[in-house]
């Protein structure tokens, strides 16, 4: 077998192995790129609405999130669509590429598959080269389907060049991250490390772009994400930026090939860093263990809370135009306070929804103790001199910390993004948010109760926030009577931006929460562990 024939055979082998997952990615990505675009013509009934939307996008928080707004002078549906959608598909295709390349390089090597393959009479580069060809095929197929779809859709403002600029930007950023992951896979010796560093670089590039875009500085050009967000599809169609990106991709690929050929199989260029030989003082306690197991989630949720707050807060300045764009959201917001101030209603809706979202990290932290039990790791802890309550209480403390962090950071996010409007008062926002603390505590109580009494049913705890969330959506939309609101622990909380403070519901929520926690803990102490 000639090495070229072997190369094509291996490429085919990759594509065959990838047929299910790859096909799902292609359909999901290209399909939703087209589907999203198809929804745009229905969004605006006039040019004025379109301009209003563009203004909403032009706030610092939105620009940081999605990239610079462009083409305001010749604004049309295609431009708006490209500006709002590009970053999301870029993110999705980057994730696909990082996983894809890692799977066929470092992960395969770790599992010893590559060794088996290299024992065959094939050229040394075959494996990595075939992986890159596979990535090229995936990205190109997604890009071209998107291009064709957009041309066929023919949104107002569509040009063939614009469609290519948009589609190829998505494909190019994907291929760039394929090359980057390939290089990292040569440097590190564990596939987890490769994923970790690839995603960290992705995050770094995202932040560089966000920062540069917000300051309107050239810093954005230092990030591949900045490059594609300045292609300005359907407006300037800067293909030269894509050429630069492709050039960088090829250089990185070449470097990765060279490193691959020079190194030993199974090794990385950077030797695996030995971990800690000893546990830190802090880790050597039940709380230290609980914290170590949850700290990454705590940090991730802190960031997520701030971003969510900022996204919602950035709309404060253009509430009128924002709500007029969407009849349904308008109805929901107005359902919160008829004949009250629009801003007050909006903030009431915001915290009602955010509080329910905040239940996710709270419940997760509490449920971690049961997850540990199911994975059989709790037995050894209790076989040491650890009282059952002390480990459970540690996770409960983390759950409470999660609730405080979540509420604080959403408030800060909202304020940071909406502060420039002069309509927000930080102290008021804190009050609006923290009245929900007892509701979150009650949710924690339900989780503790279930874990103690009926651990197999503990997933039922999600009913509490989901019910509240559904009520926020449908209850307001259909104007359900007030007593329905009072059936949800989140619903009974006074919405301070519209209503007066009443202490009774908060006391009741807290008291019931305490009872649930006490009963749950008592039951947990007495029951069999798995």
């Amino acid at each position: 077998m000639s090495s070229l024939a072997a190369f094509w055979q291996y490429t085919r082998f990759i594509l065959v192995r990838e047929r299910i997952v790859g096909l799902i990615w292609i359909v999901a990505l290209a399909g939703s790129a087209i589907l999203f675009a198809a929804m745009y013509p229905g969004l605006f009934s006039s040019d004025a609405e379109m301009q209003a939307m563009a203004q909403t996008m032009n706030t610092p928080a939105m620009v940081a999130l999605m990239g610079p707004v462009y083409g305001l002078d010749t604004l049309n549906t295609a431009i708006i669509m490209a500006q709002e959608c590009l970053i999301w598909f870029a993110i999705a295709i980057i994730i696909m590429n990082i996983f894809f390349v890692n799977r066929y390089t470092r992960a395969d090597e770790e599992l010893g598959r590559l060794e088996m393959f290299r024992a065959l009479p094939v050229g040394r580069l075959t494996g990595v080269a075939a992986t890159m060809i596979g990535a090229l095929v995936l990205n190109l197929v997604i890009a071209l389907i998107t291009v064709c779809g957009l041309i066929a859709l023919n949104l107002p403002g569509t040009t063939v060049a614009g469609a290519f600029a948009y589609g190829l930007a998505i494909g190019a950023i994907g291929f760039f991250f394929a090359a980057l992951t390939l290089l990292i896979a040569q440097l590190l010796s564990s596939s987890r490390g490769v994923l970790g560093v690839s995603f960290a670089l992705f995050g770094l590039f995202y932040v560089i772009r966000a920062w540069g875009d917000m300051q309107n500085s050239d810093l954005s050009y230092a990030s591949p994400l900045g490059l594609i967000s300045r292609v300005f599809a359907f407006y300037e169609n800067n293909f030269w930026l894509l050429a630069i990106l492709l050039g960088a991709t090829l250089v990185i690929t070449a470097v990765a090939f060279v490193v691959y050929v020079k190194r030993d199989l199974g090794e990385g260029v950077i030797p695996a860093r030995p971990g800690r030989k000893h546990a830190s003082r802090f880790l050597q306690s039940p709380f230290g263990l609980a914290w170590r197991l949850t700290r990454n989630t705590v940090f991730a949720w802190a960031v997520a809370a701030f971003v969510m707050g900022a996204v919602y807060g950035s709309v404060v300045g253009q509430l009128d135009s924002f709500l007029n764009q969407n009849e349904m959201i308008k109805q929901i917001v107005e359902g919160f306070g008829e004949n009250k101030s629009l801003l007050g209603s909006y903030i009431a809706m915001l915290f009602s929804i955010l509080a329910a979202v905040g239940a996710i990290p709270v419940v997760n932290a509490a449920m971690r103790i049961y997850a540990e039990e199911k994975r059989g790791r709790i037995e050894q802890v209790y076989a040491a001199a650890v009282p059952r309550l002390s480990l459970f209480a540690s996770f409960m403390v983390i759950a409470l910390v999660q609730s405080l962090i979540f509420l604080t950071l959403t408030v800060l996010g909202i304020y940071a993004a909406g502060e420039s409007t002069g309509q927000l008062v930080l102290a008021d926002l804190f009050k609006d948010a923290f009245v929900y603390l007892p509701a979150l505590f009650l949710t924690l109580g339900v989780a503790v109760l279930l874990i103690g009494l009926a651990p197999r049913l503990s997933l039922l705890v999600w009913v509490v926030p989901v019910y509240s969330f559904l009520y926020d959506y449908f209850g307001r939309l259909f104007n359900l009577p007030d007593w329905v609101r009072n059936t949800s622990p989140f619903g009974v909380v006074p919405q301070l931006s519209l209503e007066d403070f009443t202490v009774v519901p908060l006391v009741v929520l807290t008291a019931v929460g305490i009872v649930f926690c006490a009963v749950g803990l008592a039951a947990y102490r007495r029951r069999d562990l798995r």
Binding site: S190, K277, H278, Q284, R292, E379, Q380, V381, Y382, L529
Partner: protein, 238 residues
């Protein structure tokens, strides 16, 4: 005063009776092998001993105190290797060992013993637990238990996955412990290990102890057969 005393222990899981009146006594300074076919109830007995499971009926005491009510206090005096070792993937072996030693709260320093056993078992403590092979995961649990200066060691199939060299290191360690007057409850399927270490042997089958005695007594029962032949016939219920 026996170190472990189990009387008429019954443990039910719903309708299933896992332990059906187990009696077991372990005296000070004795290595007591606990044998039986898969699913006989060895791990269940140990988990009741440790207060992970609650006895349905019967009495279970360690150092003359109720094993359920005083579990935290009692655990300071014993060390344990679980039958199925599950570690936290993102902690290193060294971190897990330190953590388990610290959670036992004996207040004594284990540094010397820890280093000694790491060396004896040839274990690299700087690797993340997810990266260890099965045998090395087992060693993490073993070092964590053996490095602590306990009075009683409860070991549930402690050598599963160890290579013969490490099996030898383990046996030597247990013999050392015996010399120091420590007590060991050793659940095992490895008959050579039992022959080399055990002073006493109890065999459990379907939740009931069917044979118990010193090694000499068991040899008498064997009546000329090897221990292996005896166990095989006991396991099969002939």
């Amino acid at each position: 005063m026996p170190v472990i005393e189990i009387k008429q222990l019954v443990k039910k899981f719903g309708k299933l009776t896992a332990l059906n009146g187990v009696d077991l006594t372990l005296d000070q300074g004795e290595v007591h092998a606990y044998l039986g076919p898969n699913g006989a109830g060895k791990t269940t007995t140990i988990r009741v001993l440790l207060g992970i499971l609650r006895a349905t009926s019967g009495s279970v005491s360690i150092f003359d105190r109720d094993a359920w009510k005083n579990s935290v206090e009692l655990h300071k005096r014993l060390a344990f290797v679980p039958g199925e070792v599950n570690l936290w993937g993102n902690l290193t072996g060294g971190e897990v060992i330190d953590l388990m030693l610290a959670l036992r709260k004996t207040g004594t320093s284990h540094t010397e013993r820890r280093e000694m056993f790491l060396e004896r078992f040839e274990l690299d403590p700087t690797m993340k637990c997810r990266a260890y092979s099965k045998g090395n995961r087992q060693k993490v649990a073993l070092v964590a238990a053996l490095a602590s200066d306990a009075e009683l060691y409860i070991l549930d199939e402690p050598t599963s996955g160890l290579d013969p060299l490490m099996e030898k290191v383990f046996q030597d360690t247990i013999l050392d412990l015996k010399k120091e007057g420590k007590s060991v409850l050793l659940s095992s399927h490895i008959l050579s290990e039992v022959e080399a270490l055990a002073d006493k042997i109890s065999i459990i089958k379907e939740g009931k102890i069917i044979q118990t005695g010193t090694r000499a007594e068991i040899s008498q029962v064997a009546a000329g057969r090897t221990l292996e032949e005896l166990f095989l016939s006991e396991y099969q219920g002939r």
